[in-house]
């Protein structure tokens, strides 16, 4: 611009410039251009409000950046969401200005236009603002109890990510995602940043969960059944993420390890996401059935592309022969480019031509006029029709030669042009055809004559891989997915004689228990009366019948009885809390709680062994959610022998008590048992807690949720608490299924008695 400073030719323009009341040089440079755009879009009042808002932003004292951004972005925002949205936006900007979050104003304005394009309507825009406001309000302010105000660490990053987030999530999903971040990382600024820049694993996981469309994990079983039922194929399905590759969208493919498909499909017009998955799978199954790999080395990339298109059509026609209903789905998903969409003078039209013929091969009503195309469609179908009824399904090779002659016939000089016509030419349910080609040489380079074979050193498996369990977040009433990692292992062994000694010590108690046990032992025979046929005559009934008979009435012929065996059928799991606090001495005793627990557990194990119920013992402790240890002491398959006793003897206590995860893990063993009744006993000396959880209530609520889950699985949980103060929380977790043992010294005696009472 070469005009004299601040003097515009047009009086109106002059007035506008005056309204803006700014001396930023950078603004002046672009003023005319932005006004041209604004004048074309905004109304007269709109212009005035726009300039007023820009003036206010310019006076905020945040430099030229926010003002510039606003001037550039607002017209296009207003175009989508309407001018009346301005007061809300300005209101929010002012709120940020008043809070310590002034730095977030620029990112907010910067991404407002792309965000608005995703939101479409004014109400949506308002919701977006309220989500942002919520985030600001909840993450700004006191940290670690200091009442000085700190800016929200995540807010600027959130604005920067907002367009991407909204491309993946609905507004509802965005709200949940933000909510999760605030709740879990509110007092950890660095992690909060990671979360809102979509870098942490958590952030990805929650994003994945909230995405719109048909999620793979929701339909996985249906797809498995689909493959198995309709195609007799049992390939493993491996999803890949489509969320984070913006530039290069991955394409489905299959290899030895399974079929790779996107983790989410949105509905496409009339076709549901599930049907899109099915189309993708069917296409790959078709390749697996009918495609023979060809040697690729002598063909140009163009030739290979043509062969791929023809082969794809061949197998799709074969698939439709099998299930004609697939045709509807394929045709709906296959693009149908207009015949004149591509100008062969300026652009490379190869892809356009190939997609057209691909469409024409599948769709008899393609309506394309090109003579070559029609000729090849006819040739293709006559090729395919050879022995339509018989086994003749043509072959990859024959179709490839047809494809090659089509390329030869329709070749144009412009195919080599760098500008390639891509619009509407991607058939997105088709795989990348990597299995179709064999390459004899790795590369044309001379020095590459032998591929160096690299073998990854085989890593020795140490222990079992972790199992992940969700954790209940009572504040949001949702599960945190895969939150706790449980590692399981056999408990190290100790000297089993120690346990025998303990049992010896309690031999008097054992004798008393034995008497109760004998009474409890399965009363195998149960009498069934009123049987027409039976092993014995039931005298009472028989005499009654005889009386009836003699009296001339119709006698009851069911005068026999028989017996049925009736056994106990209870599977028991004893879960021991092995947290650090067990090392403390029990009140009024020389023994630690751990030692007393050992005694009690050995007596209980002995009792259960006498009864013959299937019984397992495991211990757990945790050191943050990433390391929950689950230690087997006795398995269901093992007898109460030296091995199990040895492990019990070596029992030692450390770390904290993350009970929910351990219970869920123990439950999966108990669930696999075939028993009428399943009982999980939990022996603990304190409330659930862990060092990475500040909120005491959180793990308590999670344990409570675990109890509910177990209850749904038909597992009866029962807690034996050694914490004298347990009454405050234990009934909240276990309802009425608990006992608090105040006098810990009597634990060895109480525990077996309790078990017997429970299972009587």
């Amino acid at each position: 611009m070469t005009e004299t400073e601040t003097e515009y030719q047009h009086p109106l323009m002059q007035k506008y410039w005056a309204m803006l009341d700014t001396r930023f040089k950078l603004v002046e440079d672009v003023f005319e251009d932005v006004m041209t755009e604004a004048l074309a879009i905004l109304t007269r009042e709109g212009i005035e409000a726009y300039l007023e808002a820009a003036r206010v932003i310019g006076k905020l004292g945040r430099g030229v950046e926010p003002m510039l951004v606003f001037l550039e972005e607002w017209p296009s925002v207003a175009k989508v969401v309407g001018e009346p949205a301005l007061p809300q936006v300005m209101g929010f900007v002012m709120k940020m200005q008043k809070s310590p979050n002034g730095k977030a104003i620029t990112p907010f304005l910067q991404t407002l236009a792309p965000v608005a394009r995703r939101l479409h309507a004014n109400t949506q825009c308002r919701n977006y603002l309220s989500v942002a406001e919520d985030l600001m309000a909840r993450t700004t302010g006191s940290i670690h109890g200091h009442h000085a105000t700190f800016p929200s660490p995540g807010l600027p990053d959130f604005f920067a990510q907002a367009p991407f987030l909204l491309s993946q999530l609905s507004l509802e999903g965005l709200k949940n995602w933000v909510d999760y971040g605030i709740r879990n990382y509110n007092n950890h600024p660095e992690r909060q940043k990671d979360y809102f820049t979509v870098q942490s694993a958590d952030s990805h996981a929650v994003l994945q969960r909230e995405r719109h469309g048909t999620l793979f994990m929701d339909v996985e079983r249906k797809l498995d059944l689909y493959l198995r039922g309709l195609w007799q194929d049992a390939q493993q399905l491996v999803p890949y993420s489509t969320a984070f590759d913006e530039l290069r969208k991955p394409v489905p493919y299959y290899d030895k390890l399974g079929m790779r498909i996107p983790d989410v499909y949105d509905d496409a017009d009339t076709i549901t996401g599930l049907d899109r998955y099915r189309a993708t799978l069917a296409h790959m199954v078709g390749h697996r059935r009918w495609t023979q790999a060809l040697i690729a080395d002598n063909w140009s990339p163009f030739q290979r592309m043509a062969v791929e298109f023809f082969e794809d059509c061949r197998i799709e026609i074969l698939l439709c022969r099998e299930y004609p209903g697939l045709k509807r789905i394929f045709l709906a998903l296959h693009p149908k480019p207009a015949e004149d969409a591509c100008d062969p003078e300026t652009t490379s039209c190869l892809r356009h031509r190939m997609v057209m013929i691909s469409r024409a091969l599948l769709d008899p009503e393609h309506g394309y006029q090109d003579a070559n195309l029609r000729d090849f469609v006819a040739r293709f179908h006559s090729q395919m029709a050879l022995g339509e009824s018989g086994a003749n399904i043509s072959s990859t090779k024959d179709i490839a030669s047809l494809a090659l002659s089509y390329v030869a016939k329709t070749r144009r000089q412009s195919d080599q042009l760098a500008k390639v016509h891509f619009d509407n030419t991607v058939v997105d349910y088709r795989d990348d055809n990597r299995q179709m080609w064999k390459f004899i040489e790795e590369s044309d380079d001379e020095e590459m004559f032998e591929k160096e074979k690299k073998r990854a050193p085989e890593e020795e498996l140490k222990g079992l891989p972790p199992r992940h369990y969700p954790e209940w977040d009572y504040k949001s009433l949702t599960y945190r997915p895969d939150w706790a990692s449980v590692y399981e292992a056999l408990h190290p062994k100790g000297n089993s004689a120690d346990i025998d000694r303990l049992l010896e010590k309690h031999s008097a108690l054992a004798k008393r228990l034995k008497r109760i046990l004998d009474l409890l032992k399965p009363q195998d025979k149960v009498r069934i009366r009123y049987q027409e046929e039976g092993s014995e005559l039931d005298l009472d009934v028989a005499i009654r019948s005889l009386i009836d008979f003699k009296g001339g009435a119709n006698p009851d012929p069911r005068i026999n009885m028989s017996h049925r065996t009736d056994g106990r059928n209870i599977a028991v799991m004893l879960l021991l809390d092995l947290s650090e606090s067990l090392n403390e001495k029990a009140t009024g005793s020389e023994q630690t709680i751990l030692e007393l627990s050992q005694e009690a557990v050995s007596l209980l194990a002995w009792s259960v062994e006498q009864l013959g119920d299937p019984f397992a013992i495991a211990g757990f402790h945790s050191n943050t959610r990433h390391d929950v240890r689950y230690l087997h002491i006795k398995g269901y398959g093992e007898s109460w022998g030296d091995e199990a006793k040895g492990r019990l003897a070596a029992m030692h206590a450390a770390y904290s008590t993350r009970m929910g995860a351990a219970m869920r893990h123990a439950a999966h063993y108990l669930e696999a048992r075939k028993a009428d009744k399943k009982l999980m006993l939990i022996l603990t000396d304190g409330q659930p807690s862990d060092i990475d959880t500040n909120d005491e209530q959180l793990l308590i609520e999670d344990t409570r949720q675990a109890v509910k889950e177990l209850d749904r699985q038909g597992i009866f949980t029962y807690c034996i608490s050694l914490d004298p103060k347990a009454d405050e929380y234990v009934s909240g977790i276990f309802g009425r299924q608990y006992t608090v043992i105040d006098n810990i010294q009597r634990l060895p005696e109480k525990l077996p008695e309790l078990f017997l009472a429970l299972t009587k």
Partner: protein, 267 residues
């Protein structure tokens, strides 16, 4: 004497042989060997027995076994009357007296102590002692015992005892192959062969899912039901859903997969 004619099969039942089972059965009958027919539900076991009875022109007495069935339900019992008792033959006894083919359907459903009463009839003795009555029945020369059972779905508790199993010659039935099953559907219901072939395809889809949430695939019997409905003018999609999918599963995922198979097949 009981009327023999009422047990005869009057009209020829339609039966499509899958192999040599008709000839083999005839050979077994010539020598009066007991026969066991095994196979999944609805694959044509009972139809086969019926057909053989018709072909051999022998009376057929069918007993559907259940858990509460006692030995006297098979053999017979004393009924009390105002002035004494009267003996009533059970179906097995009747068959042994008149020389019928006695068909015990789903034999494993009966209690084990019940199944033992057939033992003396199934070996060289061919007798049936009625201990309550103090009578020993020598089976009629035409008498033959046939049992059926479905080894697939019953529990482990309900397997036949070895001592019972080893008294029978056995046929192992399964669902017929696609071509044969299509013929069966077309013949049985008069349905167009093309639609019949589609039905068979859906049936096989479900059989592929056996063990993955389905205990048993779609039986030939259900396919015949579907064919009958279609023949009656019901829309094939509705007929398939009603006769093939809804009866066999409550699992939503499987239902949806089979529904999709139906849509994909009838298009």
């Amino acid at each position: 004497m009981t009327d023999k004619e009422q047990y005869k099969v009057q009209t020829e039942p339609y039966y499509q042989a899958q192999g040599k089972e008709v000839e083999l059965y005839e050979a077994a009958y010539r020598n009066r060997l007991p026969v066991m027919v095994k196979g999944p539900t609805g694959c044509g076991k009972s139809r086969f027995v019926e057909y053989m009875a018709w072909k051999l022109n022998k009376p057929l007495i069918t007993v559907a076994c259940n858990e509460d069935m006692t030995a006297s339900d098979l053999v017979g019992r004393y009924l009390l009357e105002a002035n004494g008792t009267r003996w009533l033959d059970g179906p097995l006894t009747v068959a042994a007296r008149i020389g019928a083919i006695c068909y015990l359907d789903e034999i494993v459903e009966a209690r084990q102590d019940t199944t033992v009463v057939i033992h003396p009839l199934t070996d060289h003795r061919r007798t049936l002692p009625l201990d309550k009555k103090g009578e020993l029945i020598h089976a009629h020369p035409d008498f033959q015992l046939v049992i059926s059972y479905n080894p697939g779905y019953q529990s482990l508790m309900k397997d036949l005892k070895q001592s019972t199993k080893q008294r029978f010659t056995a046929f192992d039935f399964d669902y017929p192959d696609a071509v044969l099953e299509t013929t069966i559907l077309a013949k049985e219901t008069g349905l167009d062969a093309l639609i019949a072939a589609n039905l068979v395809k859906i049936g096989q889809t479900a059989r592929n899912l056996k063990g993955h949430g389905l205990d048993e695939g779609i039986s030939t019997r259900l396919l015949v039901y579907a064919a009958t409905l279609i023949k009656d003018g019901v829309d094939p999609l509705d007929a398939c859903r009603m006769a093939l999918v809804r009866p066999i599963t409550d699992d939503a995922d499987i239902r949806e997969t089979l529904d999709h198979a139906i849509d994909a097949t009838f298009a």
